[in-house]
Structure formats: structure tokens, C-alpha cells
Amino acid sequence: MRGVGSLSSLGRGVRSRAGANAMILVMAVVAVASAVAGPTYYAAARLSILRDNFISAPVVARGFEATQYGQLSGTLQALQSEIAGAAPGLGRLSDQPTEAIEATVIDPDTNSGTTLVWRSNVCAHLRIQGGCPTAKDQIIISQSFASTTGLRIGENIDLPSWSPMTVVGIYAVPSGSDDYWFDRASTYFPYEDSQSGGSRSSAVLTEDALFSTEATMTTAPLASQGEVVIDDLLDVPNFRTSDLASLSRQIVGLSDSDELSGAQAVITSTIPQTVSSVQTAWSALAIPVLLITLQLLGLAWLLLFLVVSEAVRARGPEVALAKLRGQGRIRTTAFGLSEPVAVIVASLPLGALAGWSATWLLGRSLLRAGTPVGLPAISWAVAAAATAGGLASVVLASWKTLRRPVVEQWRRASTAGNDRTWVLDSILLTGAVAGLAELLATGKVSSAHRSALSLLVPGLLGVAVAVVASRVLPVACRAVIRGSRGTGLAAFLALRQVARRPGGSRTTIMLATSFALATFSLSGWALDRANFRTVANSQVGASTVLSVVAPTGTDLGTLVAKADPTGRQAAAVEEYSSNGVVTIAVDPQPWSRVIDWRTAVGPGSRETLQQAVAALDPPEPPPLVLDGDTVQLDLAVKSLSPPGSTLSLDVLATGATAPTPVSLGVLPKTGPVSLRGSLPGCPCIVEDLSVVPPPTAFAAAAPIGSIDFRAMEVHGSGGWRTVDSRFSSSTAWISPGDQPTSNMVTAGSAGLAWTFDSQLDGEAVLSVVDRPSPVPAFASVAVAPKGPYSATGLDGTSLPVDVKATLAAVPGAPADGVVVDRRFAELASTGDLVLAQQQVWLAPGAASRVVPKLEAEGVKVTAIETQSGYTKTLTRQGPGLAGVLFLGEAGIASVLAAGGAILGLYLTSRRRRYELAALEATGVSRRSILSAIASEQLIVLLFGVLVGIGTGMVATVIALRDVPQFLTQPAAPTLATFPPLAPLVGVLAAAALVVLAATLAASVVLARSVRLDQLREAPA
């Protein structure tokens, strides 16, 4: 009962001061929430980063493949055992591994081969017509293989050295990019995998794999050997941050295993790189989160101390009463502290919940979708520490009131001058200045390198300036009073009160520090946001970029033009990366309409980009057109090797997408000759002439020789007529090759003299110049200066370009891009274009319209990258996440500081209601009293807010450029170092207005509460 009575009494006390206690509770909850949010957010962000890195990584970076060559029977078990011995803990971190036994089967007749494979659970990843092999010597074959060989379900196939196999099913591959295949789709399905576009390159000698059962493989002939494979992917969805260290150890165990290396097992994995990326991102987040949390926690404690001080001071009469009633020191202390302590203790669970909720909300918008936000043990420990700090604040704040003698409390006069606030101010100022000096003077924060320690600058600067400002305000008010005798009564009362008030300085410190932090964090967030967008805009290049695969034999540009006839929504692009430089081949007109012109940052860069795009597509030479049924070439062979080489003319018929070779016959060893060939479906465009070595050669010899071309004629309905073959111009024909001296074209009165040495190539080619040479280009300023430059073509060979312009940032490859005309780049390519990445760049909002049309044209979209997605990726990196945390916490701290300041001023003024009532009794109008209260509060609040904003801006200028924004600072585009001013000013002005409005509201409430009958009460 005793406890119940005390508790109910406590409850009544808390209720009776509901406003002040609610404010203390809010402060304490925010202090705990600030503390909890840091580690909670960090834990969740770490997991988000971990998953981001692993999920977006290629399979080899989030799994490993172990291969071992040996007997088909028994080797798999040996490999499993070796892996288990080398990395015993790996099984806990990974999915069920996929195992395979592969044997190569060569057909000696055709010299072609295929792979006979057992792969665990393979049928679940194939679309099978028929059945899945379940017994020995049953196989399934690909649709492509079935159509090539004519095999049907139920038929047998003889494989050399193997028992006859029965076809039980025909498979198609839904997606060769599935993790299950672990990048082996191109090995298994050179034809069938739809993602490869079904291209049948001449380089492919292997048919699609034949899948059978484990029994087939393990009962193979004794001499049969092959490769066993274990593909093991990490169980990323269930991967925890604490697993990373273990993973590193396991991977090291695999790579260092003597047993595995002794068995000549090969481990393929880039997991260490992924782990390294994750750890880098974590490091980038850890220090900022720690600094932000500590700063905000310290500020929250300061706020709590100040608010509790006011609240406890308001309880002074009750504490005096307890002493009057003979309650001892301990009981009086317990009585005096009971309410704030109860409130602070209540803040522990509430703060933890609030911190978790805020983090959860933040996580929903910032972190990877589905990232769980929990409350780890460290969060509870920090919450307890924050609560302990809050309790310490309560004790410190209550100390003076609890020790104040009863009579002193009643008389409201100190017996001696005991204002020791300067001690705390001195400590704060000294610490802040020393911290700033340490950071700035020792170079820990400088423009030379970005450091998270820069985040300390606004807090330290804020405290230092705030302490000084808090001492300046009363002095300034006294000066104003002395200097202006004619000041009105309200202004005089306000200035007088500010000049002598002890609490005003605390309010100034509180507001100035928190608003300095808020201004800096807002600037940082705005700058982050602007720079993230700038980088995303330039890095992606357009609103959306699709990675695509066009059907074999089709031109991507033609398909894109069909999908977007306006040419304003989509542009075909091909990219080839080599040695850190990206060649971007574009269709200039549509490309210029879909690219993000915001990439052109800086004065004049937009015009430069416009001129550069225009320069990509100069007037091209007119095509060499043949219109007839037969073509004849008059020429003289000066020398030729090997003998028997033929001359071929490649022509592009109307409507065709690939050239048609027209054989003109065998070239003589020497001497003049006229060669003829039939033209297919002309009019057609001549692309090139080529000398082809005789087909009988086992190893194709490289043609070497010299030929003079004299004239070209075509036979049509009107008989033979001479064609303007441009043999008199050496610039109209080109003989491409790596060695300029080996292929040479000269022109004279006798015609065109062509000397060729094709070296390792199978043919010597003389092409009609249908493109500018060198190809016009523009490039990132870091790649090449204006003038000739050897870029890399879409086939991976050298592409001479003429750099017409350089840009600070090239769309799509800001720092390392070379942009050329796509058609010219294709024409300049002599090799295979399969390694070039095909893309479609889309204008904003075009994806929903264009993508279905592209897919209808057979274009397969393999990846989609958007500017907004890229921005989100940057935001989810460590520095971005830290910036948002800083903004959130500093914003809340500012709101609390303003709220606490208003409450503090309200409580202070409320204690002065006796004086105010006395003023009213002496005839001072209520309006003047309201004006005096409002002026007093506005002077204190606005001064603190403005000093804080100013200090925050100064800190922004000094330190913001040094705060890390990216995991790796991009070399281009040029990034802003100061945030966009307009929104910043807008937000800060809005905040100041809110403070103004709240102050006025509090003043009105207070003024209305002043009543003459309060004069009956003794001054509190």
C-alpha cells in the first residue's frame, strides 16, 4: 500500500505538470531515439549494403565454382570432401550446391563435339517437351540439336565410347542467365540459350549439351574422364552481416587448401572482391554514423538538461515544502527527482521504440527493399547509456534546486553571487575551439582529402559561436537600452528582461548549436542530392538505358526506329569497353533527343555538347550503286599469292541487312583480266572487293599482292555501261589493316593501285569509303585532347577517330567516354561485333511505350538501368545513408531545440506572472504585456536561430566540400561544392517562420494567463 500511495502521488504530480513533463518525455525519448537510431540504422544499413553488393554481383562474386578433372566416378565425392575439409563452415552460408559431371564427346567424323552432362536438379531449370531423364542412358537434347539432327523423343543416339542413349525429352532454356547455371549457359547452350540471340558463330564447334542422369555418368566406361563441378551460391537472402568475416575465412580456406590444390581442383570466385566492396562501404558509413550519433546525443542531453532545469526549478516550492515538513536529504532528493526520473526511465522503452520506428521508416525509403530493421543488443546498450545520460542531466539540473535553502527559495534571492554558468560555458568553448583547431590545424579536415571528421566541424563551430553569442546578447540588449531612451514600454521590458535573464544564454546555445547542425546537415543533404543526381544523370546518360540483345542478322537501329518512329523516344547505342575507355556508338539524331542534357554541367558545355553531337554525322560520300544484272571489272594483276585466289564483290541489295558476296572468278597470277559476276536483286550498293585465298588450302594463306583496278561496268537493260567506280580517287577506297604500310591504295591515270598483305586475316579487303575516315568523335576531356586519337572499335580493334570536341562529362561514360556515329563505327569494324554491348537509350516516360514494341520486334531486354535507380544506389551507399541520418537527427534536434526553447521561455515567463499581473495592476495594457512577452521571446529565439543558421552556413563553406559523398569520388562530371541556395533558404526561412509562429502562440497563451488575482499569491 505504501508503494501504491507513493506511485499514485507520483502520478498525480506528473499529471499536474503534464505539459512540462510531456516536453521532458519528448526530449528524453528523442535523446534515446537519437542514440538508438544510429546503431540501429547502421546495423540495417550494413545489411542493406551487404545484400546490395551481393545481390547485384555476378554469380562468381557471390558464389564459387569448384572444378576438378578426373574419373567420372568418384571424383565428385572427392571434391566434396576436399571442400568440406577446406571450408567447413561454408555450408551454413550457402544454398544447396549444384553438382555436375561433364564429359566431352567428340564426333570424329564431323570433328564437332558436345557435352554430356549430369547436373543436379537440371530439369527444374529447363522447359522440357517429353520427360526428364531418370534412368541410366536416358538423355534430353536441345530443340536446336533436335532440329539439326532430326532426332525425336524415343529415338536413340550413338555417342562414341558410350552406350546408346535414348532421347526422352527435348528441352528449351527459359533463361540461361539464371543463377543456377552459374555462367555456364554459354558452354552448355551455344545455340539454344535465347539470351545469346541464337547466333551461330562460325567459332562455335560445340553443340548444345545433352543432359543425362548421374547413373549414366558414374557408370561410364573406365577410361572416361571429365570434369566434376560444384557450383555453390551464397544464401544471400539469409545472409547476415556477422557472416561476412566467417565467409572471408571460408574463402581463404578454399584458396589456401593444400588438399584442393594437390587434387588440381580449381576454385573460381571473386567473393573476396565483393567482401572488400562491402567492407569499404561499411567503413564509409561507420565513422559518420558514430560522429553524427554522438553529436546529436550530446545535443539532446544538453537540451534535456536545459528543459529539466527549468522544470525542476518550477518545482522549487514543492522541494522547499518537503524540507519544511522535515523530510531528510535523501527523501527530499527522491521526492525532487522522482518525477523527472520517472519520465526519463519511461523514455527508455519509448525512445527505443521511437528510434526503431524512425529507422524503420528511413529504411523503407532508403535501404534495400526487404531489409529487416531490428534492435540489436548494441542499440539497447546505447539506449541504456542515453537514458543514463538523461538521468545524469536530471541530477545535474536538479542539484541547485535540491540544495537551495528553503528560506532562499521563499525569498527568491541568493545570499551570495553564485552564478557559475560561465564555468560550463568556458568548458564548452574551450572544448569546441580546441576540437576545431585540432581538425583544421592538423589537416585532418582539409580540401586535400575528404574525411568523415569534417562532420564534427558544424557541431564544434556551433557550440563555440553559440557560447560567445549567448554572452553577447544580454550585453547587446543593455547597450540598446542605454542607447535608445525613447524605446516603448514593451520593447524596454523585453530588452531589460533579456539583458538580465539567466536562461536566455542557455536558450541561445541550444538553438544556435542545433540550428547550426541542422543547417549544415540540410546543406549536406541538398548537396548530396544534387550531386547524386548529376552523377546518375551523366553516368546513365538518359532517363532509362536498356541493355538488349537484338535478333541475329538484324540492325538494332532499324528495330528501334520501328519501335519509335518519331525518333524522339529511343536511340540505339552500342558500347565497347576497353582499357578503361568506353566507345559509345550512337545514332546522333535520336541520341541527341533522348540523352540527359543536364550532363552538360558548366558554362558553355551545353553548346559544346550540341556542336559535338552535330559533328558526329558529317556529309558522307555517295554510295557506289550498281543497277543491272551483271558486273564486270577490268584490272591488271601485278603480283598475287597464293595462286588461285578469287576476287569477290560484296554488295548490299535493296532491303537486305547483310551484304551478298558476288564471286568474280579466279585472279590470274599476273596480267590484265576482265572478271564478271551476276548481281542478285540489284540495284545494290558496293561495299567492298576482296581477294579470297583458294578454299583448298588446309590453313588459309594470307593473300599478298598488288592489283591495278581500271574500270567497272554493269550490264542492264540498256547493255553495258561504265560505272563511276572512283578508281581515280585514292580516298574513295580504303584497305583496312593494322599495319598501314602493308595495305596501300594509290590512284593515278591508270586507275587504282592496291597493294595488300592481309597477314593473318583470311581475306584482303578493299572497301568503298562510305564513312569519314578518321571517324569524327567527341570524348571526355580526360580521355583525349582534340585531334587524332586511336579509340577502340566495336569489334575490339583500333578505330582511328578525329576528336572534334572534348567534354567534362560524356553522357553514359562521364570521365572515360568516346562517342562516335554508330553506323560509321560498324562500317569501320572488320571483326565480330558480338562483344559490343547493345543498348537502347530512352527518353523520360518512354519505357512503357517503347519496351513492348522492342520486345515485339524480337529484341530481348536483359537489364534496365534508370537515372532514378542509379541515384538510389548512390543514396544507399555509406556516405549517402549517413547524410540522410544526419539530416533526420539534426532536423529533429532543431525542432526539439525550438520546442524546448519555447517551453523554457514559457516556464520562465510563467514564473513571472506575478510581476506581469503587477504590471497590469499599475495600468500597463494587456496589449503591451503581450507585446513585451512576445518581443522578449522573439529576441531570444530568433537570435539563436539566426546565429545557428549563420554558423551552419559558415560550416558549410568551411567543411562541407570535405565530407565524403561517394564511396569512390567520380572523376567526372564536375560536382557542386555548395548546395543549391534557393531550396536551402526556403527551408530555413520556413523553419524560422514556424519558430516565429510558435513563439507568438506561446506568448498569447501566456499573456492570457496573467490575471490580477495572481497578486494574492506570493511570487513563486
Binding site: M1, R2, G5, S9, R12, G13, R15, S16, R17, P317, E318, A320, L321, A322, K323, L324, R325, G326, Q327, G328, R329, R331, P405, V406, V407, W410, A413, S414, T415, A416, G417, R1016, E1017, A1018, A1020
Partner: protein, 297 residues
């Protein structure tokens, strides 16, 4: 002239002040509040401390309550010297020996707490059981006529009720000495009478010694003995309706206001022993001595 009266009850003295001096040290200056107060209050006596504002009445009361230490002199409450006691001893005295009623309800009561709760709050440091405390609280509220509003927060009671409650709170621990500082100053006549009746009842029923500071002559009359303090000294006493001058330790006497009209401050007077005592005559402004019957002092 007034009749000289010796202090009574020396054997059962509740309060004894001997040459009590108190000086306030306010920033930069000193203010002497008590200049050598001599006072004895017998156990079970009721004394009203009268005097103009600033005379030192409240200071004397606060010293008696152990809230302040005197600068010099002796002060005893039931034989315990308060001058050199520790804070803990002073607290113990306030808990066990002294009950205090202040002028302002805010200084007497926890406004958010119920009437019962306030009486129990005063008993909190005692070792009584909760039930005992509650029973006592109810008894006291019954005695002061507030039983019916026992569960109402003190802040919602009327001024008179609050002061009656304050008396109950002050009596919660059965003090032998009740100190009251202007207990009726903010009350209407009827409420003031009720509070005085309560104090008298406590004195009569419980034998509680009462020392009350008041400006109200009716309160003074009701308490029986009055002690007038002027300029930090005991200047006079009233007993049984009679006003007496108290001769100071240095032989000084303080005249009542009506006598000061005869002998204004600064005037010369002639004192002469008579067979009945001392005669005091103003000296005429021309310097002539007024003939008298006794010897000059």
C-alpha cells in the same frame, strides 16, 4: 505605566531566545534583522508575534523552525540549542517537534495532491504504517472539518479550506511547537476565525505550544500573549489584555506608537525613579527641567 511582568514557565520552556541576533548577508551588503531578541515561551503557551513589516518576526519564526541559523545569541526549542545543529538535526526537529503553517497555501501544500495525501506527505518520513498514517490523516481532516473533501486536490479547495488543511498538515506528526506565519492574512474573517479556533483547539486539546506571526490584533487577542517586535527587538508584550513594555538587555525600552506622540523619536526625556517605578517626562524645548517627585536616572 505598564506593569513589569517576569517571564513565566521557566521550568517548562518551549522556546528560549537569549540575545538573538541575525544578520542577512545579501550580495554586497548586510542587513540586521534581529538585534538581540530575548524571549521565552512556556510549554503549552500561545504567543502572537506582532510588529511592523520588516521588524524581524518572520526571521525569528524561521530560526525557530530551524530553517536558518542565527548569527549570534542563543535559541532553544524544548531545550535543544538550534544555533549549532546540523541540517539533519534541524530536519528532525521540524519532523518531530515543530509544525509550521505559512501564509501562502502554495508554501504549505502540494496543490496537485489530495487533502489526505498532503497530510500523509507530512508523515512520510515517520515510521508509521500506511494505515496508521491514513487513519491519522482522516482524523485530522475530521478535526479541521475537511473529511468530506479529503480526496479533493488541495489546489481545488477554497483559501480557508487550504489554510485549515495547512493546520492539519502542520499537526500531522503531533508537534509540541506550532509555528504559524500570518496564517490568516489572506482569509476572510470567518475563515480566519476558523483557523484561529483550530490553533486554539490544538493548544487546548494537545497542549501544543503556539507561536504565530500576525498583523491581526484579533488573532493576537485570541492567542492570549502577544510579543511585539520592533526593529529587531522585543519591544513589548501583552497579556490578559494589558500591554507591557519590555526592557531591553541594554536598558532600552521601546514605546508604543501612542506614547511616541508624547515622546517623539529624537526628543529629550527625563527618567525618574518613583516609589512605584520609573517616571518618564519629556524635556521642554527651552531646556528647563520639569520638577518631579523622584530621583533622576
Amino acid at each position: 505605566m505598564s506593569e513589569a511582568v517576569a517571564p513565566t514557565g521557566a521550568a517548562a520552556t518551549a522556546v528560549r531566545c537569549d540575545a538573538l541576533v541575525h544578520v542577512y548577508g545579501v550580495v554586497g551588503q548586510e542587513v540586521t534583522a534581529l538585534r538581540g531578541v530575548d524571549l521565552e515561551v512556556g510549554s503549552g503557551e500561545m504567543v502572537a508575534l506582532l510588529g511592523p513589516s520588516g521588524a524581524g518576526k518572520s526571521t525569528l519564526l524561521w530560526i525557530l523552525a530551524g530553517l536558518m541559523r542565527p548569527t549570534a545569541g542563543l535559541v532553544e526549542v524544548y531545550g535543544r540549542n538550534l544555533r549549532n545543529i546540523s541540517a539533519a538535526e534541524a530536519t528532525d526537529i521540524r519532523l518531530r517537534e515543530v509544525g509550521i503553517v505559512m501564509q501562502n497555501p502554495a508554501r504549505n501544500l502540494l496543490s496537485h495532491e489530495t487533502a489526505i495525501g498532503n497530510v500523509m506527505f507530512a508523515q512520510r518520513p515517520t515510521r508509521r504504517r500506511y494505515r496508521t498514517k491514513r487513519t491519522r490523516a482522516l482524523d485530522l481532516l475530521e478535526a479541521v472539518g475537511l473529511r468530506s473533501v479529503g480526496t479533493r486536490p488541495a489546489g481545488r479547495l477554497s483559501g480557508g479550506e487550504q489554510q485549515r488543511l495547512a493546520v492539519a498538515v502542520a499537526l500531522a506528526n503531533g508537534p509540541r511547537l506550532l509555528l504559524a506565519d500570518e496564517p490568516t492574512s489572506q482569509l476572510d474573517r470567518a475563515s480566519a476565525d476558523a483557523v484561529v479556533d483550530l490553533i486554539r483547539a490544538a493548544n487546548a486539546d494537545l497542549g501544543t505550544t503556539v507561536v504565530a506571526v500576525t498583523h491581526d490584533p484579533e488573532v493576537g487577542a485570541a492567542l492570549g500573549r502577544t510579543v511585539t517586535i520592533r526593529d529587531g527587538r522585543v519591544g513589548g508584550e501583552g497579556r490578559g489584555g494589558q500591554e507591557y513594555i519590555v526592557v531591553g538587555r541594554d536598558g532600552s525600552v521601546q514605546l508604543r506608537d501612542d506614547l511616541l506622540e508624547v515622546l517623539p523619536p529624537g526628543s529629550l526625556a527625563q527618567a525618574r525613579r518613583t516609589s512605584e517605578g520609573i517616571e518618564l517626562r519629556p524635556v521642554p524645548t527651552d531646556g528647563e527641567e520639569t520638577p518631579g517627585t523622584g530621583s533622576d536616572i
